[in-house]
C-alpha cells in the first residue's frame, strides 16, 4: 500500500506508506501536519495535490463515508459519541439493525455485546447511557465502535490521552490482535514510551515535511525528539519561503530587544496555581518583560491563562497583579479591575462581538471607565478613540462602523487587541496572538509587543509557534502535562531544547505509571 501527497501548504510533498499488519507511529511537534495527514486519509479534508492508493487502487475519498466504505476508520481526539444514547446505539449508529424502520433491540444489543467482547469490555453494559460512562470507557467504546466496522486501515489520534495504565494495556493488546489480522494502523501520540512499546515503524514530520521513517527499535526516544525539532537548523530555514518575510517583519522587535527594557518591579506573580489540568504553576513577570509559554497542544497553556484571568475558577494558588494584594480571581471582571487584560485564543468564540461595529468592540472593556458619564455613553469620545485605535493598529476597514465579522482574520485580531489597549492594563495575556493571520498583521502585533514592553507593561504570550516565541520573548517557560517544567532566558533556549522539555511531563508520567503497575 502506498499513498502520496504533494504541495499542500501545511503538508509538503509527504510520502507515506502503511503496510498491512503494522502499527505505524506518526510523530511531530505542534503544527507539523500529523492531524492534517490523517484527516486527508480519512476523507475529512481534500488533498490539494498528489494522490493515494490502497492495495494498488486509486483512493480519493471526498468525505468520511467514502473513506469508511473503503475500510478506513479514524478515531479522533474529540469524542464523537452521543451522550444521550446508550452504548449499543452508539456502537451501531449508522447501521442499526432494523426491519421496516423499526430497530430490532435484541439484534442490536447482541451485535453490540460482540463488539465490546472483542475489547474484553465485559464491565460495560450495552444498555448504559454513554453519559454515565467515564472518559476512559467512552474512549474504549469509541474504539470498539471503529473496530466493529470492518476496516483495513485504522487511524488513532492520541487514543491513550484519557486512558488509565491498564486500559492502555488492554488497548495495546487489541491493537496487536488487529495487527495479526492484517489491519494497518496509524498511531499518533505524544507519549514516546508508548510509541516505542507498540509501534513497528515511526515516521517523523516537521513543519509539514517528511523527516524520516525508521523502525521503532532502531530509534531511541531522544532521537525521536531530535528528529522532531530538527538536528540541522540551516537545512530548514533556507527552504522556508515565508521565513525571510517573517524575519524581516520582526527585525524591529529584535533590534529593540537588544536593550533590555525590563525593570525591577514585578507586575505579575502566579503562585502554585491549580485549576483542572493546570497543576501547581508558579512564575513571575517583571515590568517591561515579555514572557513566553511554550508547550504541546493540550498541555494546559490556555487553561493556565484562563485560570489566571478568573475565567475558570482556580482550585488553589494565588495571583498577584502589580503589587496589589494576592488573590484568586473568581470572575474576569475582578482580574480586569486589578489590571489584567486577556486576548483570547478563539476570537470568534469569546473575543469579539462579530455582528457589532469596530466602534462597539473597541470601547467594550473600557465602557464605564472611559466612555461614559452617569451611565450615559459619550458617543463623540467613543468614535474618536475607535478611530485612533484603527489608525494606530493599522486596521484595514471602511470605517469604525464596519461590522467586525466582515473583517479579515488579522484585522479582527487587531480589534480584539485594541479592545484592551483602550483600557490601561498592567499585564497583557495573549493566547496564540498570531494564529491564522497574515504577515502584515503579524508584523504590527510584534511591534505592539515592543511598544507595550517599552511602556513597562508585563506581557505573557502563549504560542505554538516556536519561532514567534524565540523572536519576541525575554524569557520562555515550557509547559507539559499541566506543569511548567522549565523556565530559561530566551538566549539559553534552543528550539530543540524547548521540544525536549515539552515532552518531559509525558515521559515522567509514563515512567511513573510503568513503575506503579
Amino acid at each position: 500500500m502506498t499513498k502520496r501527497y504533494g504541495n499542500v501548504t501545511v503538508l509538503r510533498d509527504v510520502d507515506f506508506d502503511l503496510r498491512s499488519g503494522e502499527i505505524h507511529a506518526l510523530l511531530g511537534a505542534n503544527g507539523a501536519g500529523k492531524s492534517t495527514l490523517c484527516k486527508m486519509i480519512a476523507g475529512l479534508t481534500e488533498v490539494t495535490a498528489g494522490g493515494m492508493r490502497i492495495e494498488g487502487d486509486v483512493y480519493a475519498p471526498h468525505h468520511k463515508q467514502a473513506a469508511e466504505s473503503t475500510g478506513v476508520q479514524i478515531i479522533q481526539q474529540e469524542l464523537n459519541l452521543i451522550p444521550t444514547l446508550n452504548v449499543a446505539e452508539n456502537l451501531l449508529l449508522n447501521r442499526l439493525p432494523s426491519f421496516a424502520g423499526i430497530v430490532s433491540s435484541r439484534t442490536l444489543h447482541r451485535q453490540a455485546r460482540a463488539a465490546l467482547d472483542r475489547l474484553q469490555l465485559d464491565d460495560v453494559d450495552t444498555y448504559a447511557l454513554v453519559s454515565q460512562l467515564g472518559v476512559g470507557h467512552r474512549q474504549m467504546v469509541e474504539i470498539a465502535a471503529a473496530l466493529a466496522r470492518e476496516c483495513k486501515i485504522l487511524i488513532l489520534d492520541e487514543p491513550t490521552a484519557a486512558l488509565s495504565g491498564s486500559e492502555t494495556q488492554l488497548l495495546f493488546d487489541q491493537l496487536s490482535q488487529l495487527r495479526d489480522r492484517g489491519v494497518g494502523m496509524i498511531y499518533i501520540s505524544h507519549r514516546l514510551d508508548e510509541v516505542k512499546q507498540i509501534a513497528d515503524r515511526v515516521t517523523v514530520l516537521r513543519d509539514g515535511r517528511h523527516v524520516g521513517t525508521e523502525t521503532a527499535e532502531s530509534m531511541s526516544t531522544d532521537q525521536m525528539v531530535q528528529r522532531m525539532s530538527g538536528e540541522v537548523a540551516d537545512e530548514r530555514s533556507d527552504e522556508q519561503p515565508d521565513a525571510e518575510t517573517r524575519q524581516r517583519a520582526t527585525t524591529s522587535a529584535v533590534s529593540a530587544d537588544e536593550s533590555d527594557r525590563r525593570n525591577d518591579s514585578t507586575v505579575l506573580t502566579v503562585e502554585a496555581l491549580c485549576c483542572g489540568m493546570v497543576r501547581d504553576v508558579s512564575f513571575q513577570v517583571r515590568g517591561g518583560e515579555t514572557f513566553g509559554i511554550a508547550g504541546l497542544v493540550g498541555s494546559g497553556r490556555t487553561e493556565l491563562l484562563r485560570a489566571i484571568f478568573g475565567a475558570d475558577r482556580a482550585e488553589s494558588g494565588q495571583v498577584c497583579v502589580a503589587g496589589k494584594a494576592p488573590t484568586r480571581f473568581g470572575h474576569p471582571s475582578q482580574a480586569v479591575a486589578a489590571g489584567l487584560a486577556m486576548v483570547t485564543e478563539d476570537r470568534k468564540q469569546n473575543g469579539l462581538l462579530l455582528q457589532q461595529s469596530i466602534r462597539c468592540n473597541t470601547s467594550l472593556s473600557a465602557m464605564i471607565k472611559r466612555f461614559s458619564r452617569f451611565g450615559l455613553i459619550r458617543p463623540a469620545r467613543e468614535a474618536t478613540v475607535a478611530g485612533q485605535m484603527c489608525r494606530a493598529m493599522e486596521t484595514r476597514c471602511t470605517g469604525i462602523e464596519q461590522s467586525v465579522g466582515t473583517l479579515s482574520g488579522g484585522n479582527q485580531q487587531k480589534v480584539a487587541i485594541a479592545k484592551w489597549l483602550t483600557r490601561d492594563a498592567d499585564v497583557f495575556l495573549f493566547d496564540e496572538p498570531t494564529r491564522g493571520i497574515d504577515v502584515g498583521a503579524r508584523r504590527r502585533i510584534y511591534e505592539l509587543f515592543d511598544e507595550l514592553a517599552s511602556a513597562g507593561k508585563g506581557i505573557v504570550i502563549v504560542s505554538s509557534d516556536l519561532d514567534e516565541l524565540m523572536e519576541t520573548c525575554d524569557r520562555i517557560a515550557v509547559m507539559s502535562a499541566g506543569r511548567l517544567v522549565e523556565t530559561r532566558e530566551r538566549s539559553l533556549w534552543t528550539e530543540d531544547a524547548i521540544l525536549q522539555a515539552s515532552f518531559a511531563g509525558h515521559r515522567t508520567k509514563e515512567s511513573q505509571r510503568l513503575t506503579g503497575t
Binding site: S333, G351, L354, M367, I377
Partner: protein
C-alpha cells in the same frame, strides 16, 4: 446631520411603508376608518401592548424571552382590584404594590434563568402558569369591578383625545429607545445578546445586566396592568391571555432578533401599531373570523419579509 436623518428614515422606511399601506387600504375600503375617532380608539386600546413590547424588546436583545407577560398583567391588575375593592386602598397605593409584585416576578424570571443557567423560555413558562394561578387564587376567579376610581388613566384627556396611558406608553417608547442606544446599560444588553462569553471575557459582569432587563419588563407589565385595569374599570383574572405572542410578534415585525443582539424599541412600537391597525381595520370591515386570522398571519410574515429584503438590499448597495 441630513445624511443621518435620511439614514434613520430608511431604517424604519419598510415598517412605516407597511403601516401606511395598511391605513390606506382600510381607508379606501371602509368609509369610517380614516377618522380621528378610529385612530384614537386604536391608540387608546393598545398601551398595554406597547408597554410590554418595549420591555420585551430589551429581553429579546439580551437573547432571553419572557412568556409570562400576559399572566403578569392579569396578576398586577388582580392586585390592584383586590386592594382597591376589598381593602379600600387608594389607586396610587394599590398601583405601587402592583409594580412591586410584577417587578419581583420579572426579577425572579431573570434571576432563576441567569443564576441556574436555565433557558428563560422554561422559567417564564412556569411563571406564566404560576402568575395565572395566583391571579385566580386572589380573585377567587371572579372579575372584580372597580368602577370610575381607576378610569382616569385610560380615559381620553380634555384637551387631546388621547388617554394618559397612551401618552405614558409613548414616553416609555422614547425612554426605552434612549436606554437602548444612549446608555451603557443598553450597550451591554446588545453586547450580551451578541456574544455573552466575549462580554464576560472583557471583564464585565453579565448577570446583573440580564436580570435587570427581565426586571424592567416586569415593571412595564405593572404599567400595562394599570392601563388595562383602567380601560376595563375592572380586574379580570382572564385578562391578557396570549398577549405574550402579540408582543413577541410586534418585536419581530420590528426587526428584533430572537437570537439576541439586534432590535429597536421604536421599531417594536411600529410593530404594535401595525398589529393594532390590522385588527381594528378588519373588525370595521366585519371580515369573517377565519379570514381575519389568515390575513393577520400573512401580514406578519410580509412585514418581516419586507424588513429582511430591505436589510439585504441595504447591504448590497452599501
Amino acid at each position: 446631520m441630513k445624511q443621518k436623518l435620511t439614514q434613520s428614515f430608511l431604517q424604519y422606511a419598510g415598517l412605516l411603508g407597511v403601516l401606511v399601506l395598511l391605513i390606506a387600504v382600510f381607508s379606501l375600503s371602509s368609509k369610517n376608518f380614516f377618522q380621528t375617532q378610529t385612530l384614537v380608539t386604536i391608540a387608546n386600546s393598545n398601551p398595554d401592548l406597547i408597554f410590554v413590547s418595549v420591555g420585551m424588546t430589551l429581553v429579546l436583545i439580551v437573547a432571553g424571552i419572557d412568556l409570562s407577560v400576559g399572566s403578569l398583567i392579569a396578576l398586577g391588575s388582580a392586585v390592584i382590584g383586590v386592594l382597591m375593592v376589598r381593602h379600600e386602598w387608594s389607586l396610587p397605593a394599590a398601583f405601587s404594590v402592583c409594580l412591586l409584585v410584577t417587578g419581583l416576578c420579572g426579577l425572579f424570571n431573570g434571576f432563576v434563568s441567569v443564576w441556574f443557567s436555565i433557558p428563560s423560555f422554561i422559567v417564564s413558562l412556569g411563571m406564566l402558569e404560576m402568575a395565572r394561578g395566583g391571579t385566580k387564587v386572589i380573585t377567587d376567579s371572579q372579575t372584580m369591578y372597580i368602577g370610575s376610581r381607576v378610569e382616569a388613566f385610560g380615559e381620553p384627556l380634555q384637551w387631546v383625545p388621547l388617554s394618559p396611558a397612551f401618552l405614558v406608553a409613548v414616553m416609555t417608547v422614547i425612554a426605552g429607545q434612549f436606554l437602548l442606544t444612549k446608555t451603557v446599560f443598553g450597550r451591554y444588553c446588545v453586547a450580551i445578546g451578541t456574544n455573552e462569553e466575549a462580554v464576560r471575557m472583557s471583564g464585565i459582569r453579565t448577570a446583573p445586566i440580564t436580570i435587570a432587563a427581565f426586571m424592567i419588563l416586569g415593571l412595564l407589565c405593572g404599567l400595562a396592568s394599570l392601563s388595562q385595569t383602567s380601560r376595563l374599570s375592572s380586574a379580570d383574572p382572564n385578562a391578557a391571555i396570549g398577549l405574550e405572542l402579540s408582543a413577541i410578534a410586534a418585536c419581530v415585525i420590528g426587526g428584533t432578533s430572537l437570537m439576541g443582539g439586534r432590535g429597536s424599541v421604536v421599531a417594536s412600537f411600529i410593530g404594535v401599531l401595525i398589529i393594532a391597525v390590522l385588527q381594528s381595520g378588519l373588525a370595521q370591515l366585519g371580515v369573517e373570523d377565519a379570514i381575519k386570522q389568515l390575513i393577520t398571519g400573512a401580514v406578519i410574515i410580509a412585514a418581516v419579509l419586507l424588513d429582511a429584503l430591505r436589510v439585504r438590499w441595504g447591504r448590497r448597495s452599501g
